[in-house]
Symmetry: C2
Subunit: 580 residues, 2 copies
């Protein structure tokens, strides 16, 4: 395992491109270019589709796939991550913009760019301040639940395009209600075309590659053929719609997509808009960062490389700022396209820059061809892509492992489906933290005894151990802090109240990693109360950092008993007849 060589100069820490570009050669460029072609083919329909999912004009998806990729190639630390519009962040963008209640298309586009800019600034700040660890507060079960629920929401939101109707809503119930209300307006041709395209794309995903291989293609070429499936669907439905004049028969089409370079755009600096978008931008930043980092780490591990999470923040921040300045909307590293990029042989972030050139060429040359593209085709692309995100097995796994983790997943899924993505992910984080605090506020305390013929002590309820009637040893299985200190006090007092011969209580601090000031006051109080009952309080196996801190208080002067380095020493001394 080797870290990427980032430490040649201080500047190289912030510009990974300075490291890899010095050893860049023709072979690497060839690999990167081939990967870029494959990713470009995949990204063109996806970019258009995700922009529509975000409630934005299709061309913003293309713009978000050009400059942001170049910015990431300069600032990002992952060698395989492919940045651009992704499904979950597009849905979150739709929710954030929807909150504003705007109707003017120019105002909506400005808000989307501003959202990308705020999100970029937040990511850059987090990167510079080394706050990447904050993402750890999203637990795996919460992320898994959130992604699954988002996949369902996204697929449901696209059904309106398959039916050719209007429907809106940010939660599953409001979406379904709106769909049913408008079901009578469904367009038959659109429905047939949407269902056929969806079926075709599912078949491409599952059945085309084996078929091509059986027809004699190499696996590599078969793979590229399967990746081109969505492009084929786009081409065929465009030709059908144009040739049969289906747009005159109610099939909704993408319409005019401006041809040319991405525009230079400025985000809004209105304080009112910033404060309305700020929380959404925070959530988009964190979700985007978590999604990117987990993809990047998975891919880096396969080549025994490691990524630098704080540098990823800088890379993603620069991408979003670039997106805001070039007519785009919030972007992040996508799972599917990064895996494709990696499998296609991308060696460096230059593959991203080459992809940007591919998308730029599409924006310059191909947009007139997209006029007759049915929205139903893009919806089918999205539905097939996001349904692979839906994975309820996390519920079963969590149930088997821990009811608390299960509660976090289930609540995140239900709240995301019921209240929308923003509430869902916020609630998921709060629930994870609350459940963790609840668990640690009622610590496990084990009464321990000596395992015969050893110096080892274990729980009296689980192991056959020796005990002494006048000596109680309690192993506290949690750090002591404000939320659980009182619990320990009550536990110890309850244990000794009804048991007459007890003369010594030993608290075995093996698992106590911290004693904060609230807990110190509680232990002082416990010492005093036990003293009034004629019982000595001892501590054993106190760790270095905890001991350092106790020495700075008056506690050690007041302690009625002793502090033993090892629990064995406490047992040895306190079990002698004189101690009873």
């Amino acid at each position: 395992m080797t870290l990427p060589n980032l430490s040649n100069s201080p500047l190289a820490n912030y510009l990974p491109i300075l490291s890899w570009s010095r050893t860049y050669n023709r072979d690497m460029a060839t690999s990167d270019a081939i990967a870029a072609v494959i990713v470009t083919i995949m990204l063109i329909p996806q970019s258009l589709a995700y922009a529509l999912l975000a409630g934005l004009p299709a061309e913003m998806g293309l713009y978000a796939s050009i400059l942001p990729l170049v910015a990431y190639a300069i600032f990002g630390s992952s060698r395989a991550l492919a940045v651009g519009p992704v499904a979950v962040v597009s849905l979150m963008t739709a929710a954030a913009i929807g909150n504003l209640g705007l109707t003017d298309p120019a105002a909506i586009a400005l808000a989307a760019g501003t959202l990308a800019f705020i999100s970029g600034v937040i990511l850059l700040l987090m990167g510079v301040l080394k706050l990447g660890f904050l993402a750890n507060f999203l637990s795996h079960p919460v992320i898994a639940g959130f992604i699954t629920a988002s996949g369902i929401l996204i697929a449901t939101s696209q059904l309106k395009h398959i039916f050719g109707i209007d429907a809106h809503g940010h939660s599953l119930i409001s979406l379904l209600g709106s769909l049913f209300a408008h079901l009578g307006e469904a367009n038959g041709i659109t429905l047939w075309m949407g269902m056929a395209t969806t079926g075709f794309l599912f078949w491409v995903r599952k059945g085309l590659k084996p078929l091509l291989i059986s027809k004699g293609l190499t696996p590599r070429l078969a793979d590229i053929g399967a990746k081109a499936g969505p492009v084929a669907a786009v081409a065929v439905t465009i030709l059908l719609t144009w040739g049969l004049g289906l747009d005159q028969k109610g099939v909704k089409i993408v319409g005019e997509v401006p041809m040319g370079m991405p525009p230079a755009t400025m985000p809004s600096f209105s304080p009112a808009l910033w404060s309305q978008l700020f929380m959404s931008a925070v959530l988009i930043s964190i979700i985007g960062f978590v999604e990117s980092v987990s993809v990047a780490q998975t891919l880096a591990a396969k080549k025994r490389q490691r990524i630098v999470p704080d540098q990823e923040l800088v890379g993603l921040g620069a991408s979003n700022v670039a997106s805001a300045l070039s007519g785009g909307y919030p972007v992040t590293g996508g799972f599917a396209r990064s895996v494709v990029n990696f499998d296609a042989g991308a060696e460096t972030p230059a593959a991203g820059a080459f992809t940007a050139i591919g998308i730029l060429l599409a924006a310059l040359l191909l947009t007139p061809l997209l006029y007759f593209l049915p929205k139903a085709t893009l919806a089918a692309t999205i539905i097939v892509a996001v349904l692979s995100l839906v994975d309820f097995s996390i519920l079963k796994k969590a149930w088997g492992y821990s009811k608390i983790d299960f509660a976090a997943v289930a609540a995140t899924i239900l709240l995301t489906l019921g209240l929308g993505v923003e509430m869902g992910v916020s609630a998921g984080v709060i629930i994870s933290i609350a459940l963790h605090l609840y668990k640690t506020s009622r610590p496990h305390v084990a009464e321990v005894g000596l395992v015969p013929n050893t110096q080892h002590f274990r729980n009296i309820l689980r192991h056959k151990v020796e005990t002494r009637p006048h000596l109680v040893t309690l192993r506290v299985d949690e750090s002591l802090y404000f939320a659980n200190a009182r619990f320990l006090e009550d536990y110890v007092l309850d244990r000794v109240t009804c048991d007459e011969p007890i003369k010594h209580v030993v608290l075995q601090f093996t698992a106590v990693n911290e004693v904060d000031m609230s807990a110190l006051e509680t232990v002082e109080e416990l010492n005093r109360r036990l003293g009034e009952m004629g019982i000595s309080l001892h501590l054993s196996e106190v760790k270095g950092p905890v001991m350092d801190r106790l020495k700075r208080s008056h506690f050690l002067d007041e302690l009625t008993g002793e502090i033993f380095l090892a629990q064995w020493d406490a047992w040895d001394k306190l079990s002698r007849p004189g101690a009873a």
Copy 2:
């Protein structure tokens, strides 16, 4: 130490009065009645003063000191707690009502009663649902900082009465700004009377009791004499104001206080008002509960009794509902009056009921005498009472013990002074939890070695221990959960990356009290990566509950190494030559 005998019948669990009333006798009644007289004398001026502090008519303070005391006598579990209006809760009431921007006195009184009602319902619900443990999330440093800052805010807010001017504000800065702006309107007579009264009351507190004792009074009588000081100040300033017609010369007086029984009042059930008051009611409930419980526990411990926190919630909830129904405002157990009640010999909650009779008599008979009572006198009473709450020594103590605890205290004090009580206490809780999570998200990991001639392992940096070049043992000093799992993974990989001969990594789980699902996935990943590097991963000293959970996952099948009961077994087996 004996628990109060609450377990005779299921009903007695919820009605502690059923327990103590059966053994109630004439001696106890006499003790309770004497304590009640002393508390009544103390409570009359305090009730009036705290009502004014809350921005309410003086009589509401009296009403809040009658029925709530009876309700607590029936439902409360502490035998010494004296319930009624207290300084901090009155200030919080002022802040909550101030948020509403009301001007009509009837609407203000209705809002105050409704606040008491909501707070009572919250407390009752918390009691029935056994949620008393939630109060533990207010750490001692946060409470200490909050009380100190509140004392300063309260004293400052009363200066306007001493100067005889108008001033408003919920933070120290806005209060001082408002005071300075109006300083030119100060009334000379009011200022002299206010300063003289304040000086007199400070002297009563410090100097009167020793003086009375030196004059031959028994300590007990001297104590009662000192308690009567505020009553004397009230009587003298009333007589002066009436005799010299000072109210005609700009001295502000309490004015007409209605004579008679507390009125029967109904809280408002307007959803808009409830939603505006709800968060304030939550904060008032929690602060009131914490204040009460800490007083009650301190006093109960002196008689080797214990209180039942969840029953205290019921007692305080009933008191607040009673206050709402009888013209009062939020109440809780007060520190000073409870100590007085206890010292005066109160034996049972009946002392509270007797105090209620005393206050009722005052409301029925004495209110006309209060007409000429200067507001400056009441302000002086409050200032002298609350300055005893101000204690900056907590800052020094926290600094010496732990910088994190210091940060929590300092932030709570600054935010309470700067932004008011509600923001201060909310921020204090959030800061405590955030700092705790931050600490646990970067756990202490110690590399350990064998203490020679023992079976004991300690940190290689702190102790002289044996180690083996091919074997690294890391003791993880924290439970593994979503926020810190990644940190451990990085730590272990960094440790082994540059050290060639390592063949075995043992994670000593002595202090790992929990491994949640996120952490499990991270440890699985670590196992896989170490495996790819040819390093075996072992665990030692895994606790019962953690082991149970690991058995429910696939982790144990995939683990490249072994699980050892004791770290000594791991050392013994893995340090043999064959293991290298």
